[in-house]
């Protein structure tokens, strides 16, 4: 549209770094080290392959890759082609991946060699004609013969990188990425994040943590988790190097942090508990770290203390933010002396919103509550998206206008918080049945929808495993109304439909589900029952 406002592209920082620091390392992945110049070439080639061969231009392209060169060059290549990227995860069930691909509406799919095992099953399930770009696959293999409906571009057809100019400005309505979160109806919800949402975040974070080209960033998150956007684009904005944590080290990254001399760490807090249990967190074991950020689930005071001792030269910050508000929208810096007194229920505060972002705590009447009272946290500002992908009903529920707040759109987080006299926000819990499983967001209703389907009964309830900190390791299920319960078969079916972290650990058959005074399933009684069940 003529005269439409242009916005800085998420890729702009990388493009500038590729010019300024062409020889400096941009990425270390799978024992391979790529300079900014090399990574830029790969990204541009992918972009050109998409632009030259796509038959039906569409503003989004999907990426099926995992901790490989293509996983990173693919993100950049899709953005360089002027599109937003939709990350898919080979660890998710094929049916879920297919749903995400179809909901996104993509007709272009970039695939890494590490996902060739999953690709045929996905292609067989997609009727729509796809352009499948395989930048690292030289041999055509049997794919074109087996899937004549789809168009394939292999490595030898990928154009050289000459001639592409990075689109450093985009239309204000352009999507940077589309991520899917657990949906209470049983279908994943798409959250589009626009360039206009994510650019303010990247710029704010780069300034806040004084990121330089000397920094060495961890990249611990799967790309289907929006916190991965922080790792990639904050690092590349300033010419720093990104270190992709190998899958095996994700479990115990202590050695990786030391060997790679990382300076910037970003993970879910669960990692601290895990390293501690494995006795991998000793005082000053991470002397290279200067900045440690945690997000995705409540950070416990005990965890913050442990990490601070392990990384004494590092600041430790608790970041908070749902996907809808772009990675993180509030921050709290841990202070070993003062912070323990500020924790509520042993949980580190989520603090204050970043400059340019706003927080409001509302009661049941949707009016702001007085300081000290708890209520639902609502968020607004440049980082907050405007709604869900092709889901106006859910958008109307979660994106609202508040009385006395003008036309501003607020995102209702569903998080129960308290705001103290200083304006500091404290996480208390949830207002609904969303839970966090090791940082992953999951709706109990989505798990239950799958259970009902595979168990053939309407009486299926999922309950978080007992936990002391608001983030659980998984769920168990209680099922009633079935004559016989074949637990192995049910769990196997669940694995076909749900990501690993959402599959119940155990299924219990009960004569009937307990009801509360209102006639609803008494979830708290089931949770209590779970505590009493021996391992």
């Amino acid at each position: 549209m003529i005269g439409e406002k242009k916005i800085r592209n998420l890729i702009r920082g990388f493009a500038q770094s590729a010019e300024r620091f062409a020889e400096r390392p941009a990425l270390v992945v799978d024992r391979e080290r790529l300079s900014y110049g090399q990574l830029s070439c790969k990204a541009q080639s992918i972009a050109l392959a998409i632009l030259k061969t796509e038959e039906d231009p569409y503003p989004l392209a999907a990426l099926l890759a995992y901790r490989s060169v293509t996983a990173y060059a693919g993100v950049l290549g899709i953005l360089a082609s002027g599109k937003g990227y939709v990350p898919l995860n080979p660890k998710f069930p094929i049916e879920r991946t297919r749903t995400m691909l179809l909901l996104a509406g993509c007709s272009t799919l970039v695939v890494g060699t590490e996902c060739l095992r999953e690709l045929p099953a996905l292609l067989a399930r997609v009727d729509r004609r796809l352009l499948v770009v395989l930048p690292e696959v030289a041999e055509p293999m049997s794919l074109p013969a087996n899937f004549p409906n789809h168009r394939f571009v292999f490595a030898d057809e990928i154009p050289s990188a000459n001639g592409l100019v990075y689109p450093t400005a985009v239309d204000s309505g352009a999507v940077a990425y589309l991520m899917f979160t657990s949906g209470s109806t049983g279908v994943p919800k798409g959250v589009p994040i626009y360039h206009r949402n994510v650019r303010p975040y990247v710029e704010c974070i780069c300034d806040r943590y004084e990121v330089t080209a000397e920094d060495r960033f961890s990249q611990q998150f799967d790309q289907t988790f929006d916190l991965s956007v922080h790792d990639m684009f904050v690092a590349w904005e300033r010419g720093a190097c990104l270190f992709s944590v190998p899958e095996r080290s994700v479990m115990a990254p202590a050695k990786f942090i030391r060997e790679q001399q990382l300076t910037m760490w970003f993970s879910v807090p669960s990692v601290i508990g895990l390293l501690s249990r494995m006795r991998l967190l000793s005082p000053n074991c991470f002397p290279s770290l200067r900045c440690s950020l945690f997000c995705g689930e409540p950070l416990l005071a005990t965890q913050a203390q442990l990490w601070q001792q392990a990384a004494p030269h590092s600041i430790v910050e608790n970041l908070y933010g749902p996907t809808e508000t772009t990675i993180a929208i509030s921050h709290y810096r841990w202070d070993a002396d003062g912070s323990p007194r500020e924790c509520v229920n042993g949980i580190v505060p989520i603090g204050w919103s970043f400059a340019g972002q706003s927080a409001c705590v509302i009661g049941d009447d949707r009016q702001a509550v007085a300081a000290g009272n708890s209520g639902e946290l609502c968020l607004a500002g440049s980082q907050v998206t405007t709604g869900y992908w092709n889901n106006p009903e859910k958008t109307c529920e979660q994106f609202v206008r508040l009385a006395g707040m003008g036309e501003r759109l607020w995102y209702r987080t569903g998080d129960l918080v308290q705001q103290d006299e200083r304006g500091c926000l404290h996480y208390i819990g949830r207002t609904d049945q969303q839970i966090k499983i090791r940082g992953y967001r999951a709706e109990l209703q989505e798990i239950e929808a799958v259970l009902r389907k595979v168990c053939g009964t309407e009486e299926a309830v999922s309950v978080p495993l007992p936990s002391s900190n608001g983030s659980t390791e998984g769920v168990a299920a209680f099922v009633s109304g079935t004559a016989e319960l074949d637990s192995d078969r049910i769990l196997s079916s669940c694995r076909q439909l749900l990501p690993d972290y959402m599959v119940p650990w155990k299924i219990y058959s009960v004569k009937e589900l307990p009801l509360n005074a209102n006639g609803k399933v008494d979830r708290s009684q089931l949770a209590e029952r779970l505590k009493g069940i021996p391992e």
């Binding site: 899958e247 479990m251 115990a252 050695k255 895990l274 991998l280 090791r438 769990l491 196997s492």
Partner: protein, 100 residues
């Protein structure tokens, strides 16, 4: 008192893994000394810590992972070798660890 060897530890770990892997992940999968418990999806990180606790409890020894590579200790025999290697101090005169 049963002498503890790598084979004995492998048996313990394999038996534990067969009983404790999650969600029927072990169905149709053979678990032996060469099985990578993480890469196969048999255990997630929390399950691995449970295995570690079990192994230490059964073997009566501490398993130190501080300098080990995850690709080593995620495989059954690698984990067992680590357990033996790290705890030679517990060896008796016969050069063998003892099972409690």
């Amino acid at each position: 008192m049963n002498a503890l060897s790598e084979d004995r530890l492998v048996d313990l770990v394999v038996a534990w893994a067969k009983q404790n892997t999650r969600k029927g992940a072990a169905v149709g999968l053979r678990i032996d000394k060469d099985t990578d418990l993480i890469a196969t999806g048999l255990l997630d990180s929390f399950g691995f810590v449970d295995l570690l606790v079990y192994l230490e409890s059964e073997a009566g020894c501490r398993v130190d992972l501080i300098d080990a590579d995850p690709s080593e200790f995620s495989v059954v025999k690698g984990l067992c070798r680590l357990a033996l290697k790290n705890h030679r101090a517990d060896e008796d005169g016969n050069g063998q660890l003892h099972y409690r």
